[in-house]
Symmetry: C2
Subunit: 408 residues, 2 copies
């Protein structure tokens, strides 16, 4: 908790709050309505970079192009993003299109191509309408400015209802350092890496190597612990850019403020991850599953993800039905060690199962609790000292409505 | 196909069609409406028995009791079943109740307790109202008769809309042998064993050992290849009873008609499994996923189950949207080897993806096909010679409606 006290949330902060970053967005015609569908984050200097990518075998073309850029020099100065079309399963032409997008933005900004990354999100399997995209890229630089963080957040949304942004300030070696992030994700959310797009900016002075170390650790306990529908996307990616413009000694694990920075970084990741879960397609509430007392961290993670992913648990939460039998059934099928006689289950602070035995509880109070927009499911296995937390959302009529008619 | 020609479907057959079996059902008060909720299959002689049970860590009490009975002598003469209450997560009292049910039916029928098995299905975590159950068991023997197969099928249903039954006749050594089965299952269906109850009867002369061999093989490619919602139940179980009353030489793998019998047995299993998938909670159609050209049988199975389990594929089928991007995303996240450049996807006979490239197809024809009550998704990986088939159903508003209000 002392560590947590070390950073401050910046209420109106966006990805342009850290020193050296500008951003922006516009409508180029990929979405049918006038909503923004093309955006960019641009840094004043080549930024140290770290990224995690989907483990889906069918990685989309823009991910391959971004990996090329990152591999070339470990730095990025601009990230281009479009929504409305994922440019996934589009073969050689899709790869050529992603490279052409990168080249076009690099030309506009006067940068080397290897300093530009590309991401896409939207429908799978359709070629990008390149004339629209290229016109958009031509108009983009003049839309990119220090107050453009909000426009950028708009440009990355698909079925999302709300913008997802977080920003904190943390003291590092007596200097103010910022970490900010923007994300999108609402459906096809079962990150691994992470079914979503995430963009994190910071002005910390940190190398790409250490940035990757922080991002990988944070991803494991945040973005990779959310699920909306169990479907891992082809386009998931989180990228972090560090401008270094806050100055000071380089942040390394030996720096006295490393831990404080890591906690601040983790907060931004967790905040974005939870916002994605809460804004899951059709969701009416955020569900948090805490598994305690597990034999190992892996077991705790697997059980938490199985419970949060259960359609029956999700529909019970939607219906405000304290149906703990579905929770215990999910715990039991996670393929992890469980002592079937020592499990406690709580809904918030309402104990419903103690040492694997049903507890008489106030059904009205439980229903009232489950009707809220935040539901905590706490499972204590009483087997060991490991724990994990996963986040998700309820399964509703609107999830079916949205996904029975997404493409058309 | 010659092998298939060896057995004949018995259109009105039920679990009492094989020689030596009687069955029946009644309403004892576990369900709120007057529907049957207690039933039994009784054999004239101790029957050879084989069974498979859920792999959920929280196995329900009746499964433990049935395993005790089977372990004692490898024979069963009666199977008792109740619906409306799963007697799962009910601790020592639940186990005592399941044993008391077994003892009560054994007493009524004048059998040793070890010749009686017990199964339950319904809500998890509530104690059985034993006075009602015991009164029901007392009245049950007079309801059990040679024409009671249909009543038994009624008694095992929960949210199921249709009875699930299959019966075939096959020639074994010049004698007519029957294999019949009844099953239930609609929600919490992701068998492993099998999320469901299945009862198979046969008058074949076969040992428990060989019966188990047949059942385990059939389960792998039938009951364990269906999913409704990805949730593996605590109560899944399939039990086979063989009266031996068809006579003749014992059926062993060396018997010239072993293969013919195995095919007939597999047909009954597959038919029941598909009926469960088609009757999934809220389902409007049966979906069959065929994976061909996989590197191994395990890979084919995992990919088929991932596609059939995808909420996004299921909602697309409900919405009759030929959104093959969701199919390919599911193939890619199954954690199995895939060549990303050689995949074909067909909806029925409509090719939508060839060698991983989108194919121009007639959208109207595809929509028409997807609106039907049977949808085939065919995926050819072009990597090897292994294949697998999985069955499931669409995800609809009614699934949400049913499960947001199941317990209450």
């Amino acid at each position: 908790m002392t560590l947590l006290g070390r950073f401050t949330v910046v209420p109106d902060g966006t990805v342009t709050t850290p020193q050296g970053f500008r951003a922006g967005g516009l409508h180029c015609g990929l979405k049918k309505t006038e909503r923004y569908d093309l955006g960019a984050i641009v840094c004043d200097v080549p930024a140290a970079v770290a990224a995690v990518y989907t483990l889906n075998a069918f990685q989309a073309a823009p991910l391959l192009v971004t990996q090329e850029s990152v591999a070339a020099g470990g730095k990025l100065q601009a990230m281009l993003v479009n929504s409305g079309n994922a440019n996934a399963c589009t073969g050689e032409q899709g790869l050529a299109d992603a490279r052409e997008m990168r080249a076009a933005l690099a030309r506009q900004l006067g940068l080397a191509e290897n300093l530009v990354g590309v991401t896409s999100t939207g429908v799978i399997g359709e070629l990008l309408p390149m004339p629209k995209v290229l016109s958009g890229i031509e108009a983009l630089p003049e839309k990119v400015h220090a107050e453009g963080g909000d426009d950028f957040c708009q440009a990355i949304l698909t079925t999302d209802l709300v913008k997802k942004v977080a920003c904190v300030r943390v003291n590092v070696g007596g200097r103010e350092v910022h970490v900010a992030g923007a994300a999108k994700g609402s459906g096809m959310i079962h990150p691994n890496m992470a079914t979503m797009l995430g963009f994190v900016t910071t002005d910390a002075n940190i190398s790409s190597e250490h940035l990757q170390q922080l991002l990988s650790a944070a991803t494991d306990s945040t973005f990779n612990m959310i699920t909306v529908d169990g479907d891992t996307s082809t386009n998931d990616m989180v990228v972090v850019m560090a401008s270094g413009l806050a100055g000071g000694d380089a942040l390394t694990p030996d720096h006295p403020d490393w831990e404080a920075f890591a906690v601040a970084f983790g907060y931004v990741s967790e905040h974005l991850a939870k916002m994605i879960a809460r804004d899951g397609e059709g969701a009416t509430k955020l569900i948090e599953v805490n598994v305690l007392g597990a034999a190992s961290r892996d077991a705790a993670r697997a059980i938490a993800k199985t419970v949060i992913g259960s359609s029956l648990v999700k529909t019970a939460c939607f219906g405000a039905d304290a149906n703990w039998g579905r929770i215990i059934a999910a715990v039991g099928r996670a393929g992890q060690p469980v002592q079937t006689e020592t499990v406690d289950v709580q809904l918030g602070d309402i104990m419903v199962l103690s040492q694997s035995r049903p507890v008489k509880f106030d059904e009205d109070r439980a229903e009232e609790y489950l009707k809220g927009d935040f539901v905590q499911i706490n499972v204590n296995l009483h087997m060991g000292n490991s724990s994990a937390t996963a986040w998700g959302c309820d399964l509703t009529y609107d999830y079916v409505r949205i996904n029975a008619a997404y493409r058309t």
